[in-house]
Symmetry: C2
Subunit: 135 residues, 2 copies
Amino acid sequence: MADADIAEYQSKTLSNYLQAGNLMAVDCPSREVLKHLTSRWGVLVLIALQSGMHRYSDLRRKIGGVSERMLIQTLQWLEQDGMVRREALPVVPPHVEYSLTPMGEEAAEKVRALADWIEIKFPYIAAAQMQRKAG
Amino acid sequence: MADADIAEYQSKTLSNYLQAGNLMAVDCPSREVLKHLTSRWGVLVLIALQSGMHRYSDLRRKIGGVSERMLIQTLQWLEQDGMVRREALPVVPPHVEYSLTPMGEEAAEKVRALADWIEIKFPYIAAAQMQRKAG
DNA sequence: TACTTTTATGTAGGTACCTTCTAAAAGTAA
DNA sequence: TTACTTTTAGAAGGTACCTACATAAAAGTA
């Protein structure tokens, strides 16, 4: 932990951490969490992990089009936010298991509700888009 | 409507539009919709409009930190996707009213469920972040 | 020695989001 | 005439996401 982090940590009282976030406020740090959970790949990682533990390469296969770099990046964001648990087995070649924490399960449910809705409603959305272009 | 759009439109049969989206697929156009709904300002616009019609400047005031450019941009995405209805009154200075379509109401509910969850859980998330940095 | 495997990291470069500034429109008020 | 109103567009420039490619480690096999 860097000195700057320690200073920042100690400057905040417990009550600061008990306050709910306010996403409408300009500088509320909860916006960072929103950004991670709703990021291009964050959504898909959460949904993919809902069906249980996955290895890194499993996720890469499952989530079409994600690059190695961004998958790692996204997993690290979600791990840092306490949504994803990372377990590295001390073997060669490396074997790393990713799974959702209890908090991650809750987040994944919310995100999946939106994703499912989009998938089901997509025909209507596409139709609306066409109508608008044609109109 | 441009010729290219007409050609694209006619190349698709009705059944194409009745297929549900698949967000895990690389090139499924539903991913664009997901991107709009979960974009940095898209989430906040949907939630803000849940309490009814807002003028452009109302939204700008309500959503902390959004720039004029991005608010317009986001509203146009959501309008194009059929989530937001835009009504311009023919007066000077301009008076434009934005509101959710029925489909937008549904999307907003899903998005708000996630946002509410983040705001409530934020103290725990922040604590998790700190633990990780300190660990 | 060369090659394999899996999970990362580093870098170079592109793209798209995003902010800021400027400007337009046509009325009203000073 | 000048300033001010509200909504939107355009341009310039910054930043962060994102892709692609190269590199690394570690221990086993051909």
